[in-house]
């Protein structure tokens, strides 16, 4: 399949999830913007939540993503399967950190 074809299919696949993508962008942007208005940077000190929860999200995603697709981690078989699963789980973990880190920063600052 051509690159154009792959991009087309990805775009059509994303269409039903645009609302979720938009929601995730909002959830990402709101704490980032609010935090930065109060001096937050990526290198700022976060909190226990931003240290513990992202790894938990990563590990949970390893199991939950296959379940979400009506499958099971037991059927993750080929190197492509593992690459996709670990990559998606890392993505979930990073997203959790991007949301939680500024929230923890602001909470610490308030305290």
């Amino acid at each position: 399949m051509s690159l154009t074809g792959i991009i087309t299919v990805l775009w059509y696949s994303a269409l039903p999830w645009l609302w979720l993508i938009a929601l995730m962008i909002v959830l990402f942007l709101v704490p980032q913007i609010l935090g930065r208005m109060k001096g937050y940077t990526f290198s700022s000190t976060g909190g226990i939540g931003s240290k513990v929860l992202p790894p938990i999200v990563f590990v949970a995603a390893l199991f939950l993503l296959p379940i979400h697709t009506q499958s099971t981690i037991g059927y993750v078989n080929t190197w492509v399967d593992w690459l996709n699963l670990i990559g998606a789980s890392i993505g979930c973990g990073i997203y959790a950190w991007l949301v939680l880190h500024p929230i923890c920063y602001m909470r610490n600052r308030t305290a």
Partner: protein, 455 residues
């Protein structure tokens, strides 16, 4: 070739469901405009050329093939009059039916409206072609219209011949008599799931899974239904209480030797009894008995608690009663005659075929239509310009072979069973979660992109 102006067309154009299309377009625009711009600049339409013509092109059938060609021609043939003939208001994503019958999908996920996929400049005549008259470039429609054409695209799909299984009636499906069939309709697929559930709840008994003695669409579907049912039986923890048997009229399970051997081995491993050269000839639904003819053997009768009936299939009667079919002595005598590489009818060069209706060794899948649509468009445009036909269909077909609920193999092959993998990084001989995700999440969007002529 005669070219006549058809007064029926202006009448049928009144029925074009522009409202649906506008709603769809607005929805897409509203949701995606900001995100879409950079993507769509790359993921544009696949039509390579346009040809100016005032020809009248009639497409018989608004299934996957007919809609794909309508959308492609609407872009690549400005000026052409395009008419599509089909009575069905609902469009079905049929590759999802096995997922419905396995309890993975709700049936609503497979449904859309035919009108949503028909371009506004295409006339939609609601009816089915009842007679093909290629000598006079004319088709007769079930609503009484006769429509003349310059060029005809036959995309009318196939006919399920349940009546060739004595005692079988689609009304029996899902009625608590142990009869299921994923092919009959989306409702039949949904109640087939219920019927399998009843059998499982019973706690024991025999399930019979069948292949037909003819070519069939989605040839992997009978296997998928067996594998997903095995998944459900194994999940009960009482697999040994259930007897599962699979009947093959030809002795083969799959056209490609590697997968044939794979499925045979998997059936052995999962305790499926194979009965080769058995053909389902009748059922007694009240007595729950199935009747089989056996090659070189005596007829057999089997008791069952659940039976998955896969009907014999042929081209629709209208086509079989026309000069467009293969000759009676051909192995494809029940199908439309086309050159399998150019998709052109050799006797009537202004008639072309796409999809299930054509007589080919395999190629009755939506994935085949995706490949055929591109070939047909290129060749048709060249033919209009009196140029040599440039494209050749390589027999590509694809079947994400579900080997259990949650895993699948990406089977892609062409003529002579040659493997034609689309993705170098996906091993076509390995069961995979990724392939399952593709089947469950991505092939439906890909199908809709194909309908719109985007891929």
């Amino acid at each position: 070739m005669t070219r006549r102006k058809n007064p029926e067309l202006s009448m049928s154009s009144k029925n074009t469901p522009k409202a649906n299309e506008r709603r769809r377009d607005l929805l897409k625009l509203g949701l995606g405009a900001a995100v879409a711009a950079p993507v769509l600049s790359v993921a544009g339409n696949v039509s390579a050329n346009t040809v100016q013509t005032n020809a009248h092109i009639v497409i018989s059938g608004a299934g996957a093939g007919g809609l794909a060609m309508a959308n492609r021609f609407a872009r690549s043939l400005p000026g052409a009059r395009i008419t599509i003939i089909d009575a069905r208001e609902d469009h079905h994503y049929q590759p999802g039916w096995t997922l419905v019958a396995s309890g993975v999908w709700d049936k609503k996920k497979t449904l859309s409206k035919t009108g949503e996929w028909i371009p506004s400049r295409v006339n939609w005549v609601r009816g089915m072609v009842t007679e093909y008259d290629p000598d006079n470039n004319r088709v007769t429609v079930s609503n009484g219209d006769t429509i003349d054409y310059d060029y005809l695209i036959v995309a009318c799909g196939l006919q399920l011949r349940y009546e060739r299984v004595e005692g079988m009636d689609t009304n029996l499906i899902g009625q608590g008599k142990g009869v299921g069939s994923v092919y009959a309709s989306i409702d039949a697929a949904a109640v087939t799931y219920d019927e399998i559930s009843r059998w499982i709840q019973k706690g024991s008994g025999t399930g019979l899974f069948n292949l037909p003695p003819t070519a069939l669409k989605c040839a992997g579907a009978p296997l998928k239904m067996t594998f997903t049912t095995l998944s459900r039986l194994e999940d009960t923890g009482r697999r040994d209480n259930f007897n599962v048997e699979f009947m093959t009229p030809s002795g083969g399970l799959f056209g490609v030797p590697f997968y044939n051997d794979f499925v045979k081995q998997r059936f052995t491993d999962q305790g499926v009894v194979r009965n080769d050269f058995w053909t389902l000839t009748g059922i007694d639904a009240d007595a729950k008995k199935a009747y089989y003819s056996v090659r070189d053997g005596e007829d057999q009768v089997k008791d069952y608690d659940f039976i998955h009936v896969v009907p014999p299939m042929t081209a629709p009667d209208a086509l079989l009663n026309s000069p467009l079919k293969f000759a009676d002595d051909s192995p494809f005598s029940d199908w439309m005659e086309v050159d399998r590489e150019t998709l052109q009818n050799p006797n009537y060069p202004n008639v072309w075929g796409i999809g299930d209706v054509m007589g080919m060794p395999s190629n009755k899948t939506a994935a085949s239509v995706k490949m055929q649509a591109s070939v047909l468009e290129q060749n048709f445009l060249a033919y209009l310009q009196d140029q040599p036909l440039p494209a050749r269909h390589n027999g590509y077909t694809s079947c994400p072979l579900i080997t259990g609920i949650g895993k699948a193999m990406l089977v892609e092959f062409g003529w002579d069973s040659k493997l034609l993998p689309s993705f170098s990084f996906i091993d076509p001989k390995e069961e995979s979660w990724t392939v399952w995700v593709m089947k469950e999440r991505m092939l439906r969007p890909a199908y809709y992109a194909m309908l719109e002529g985007k891929i």
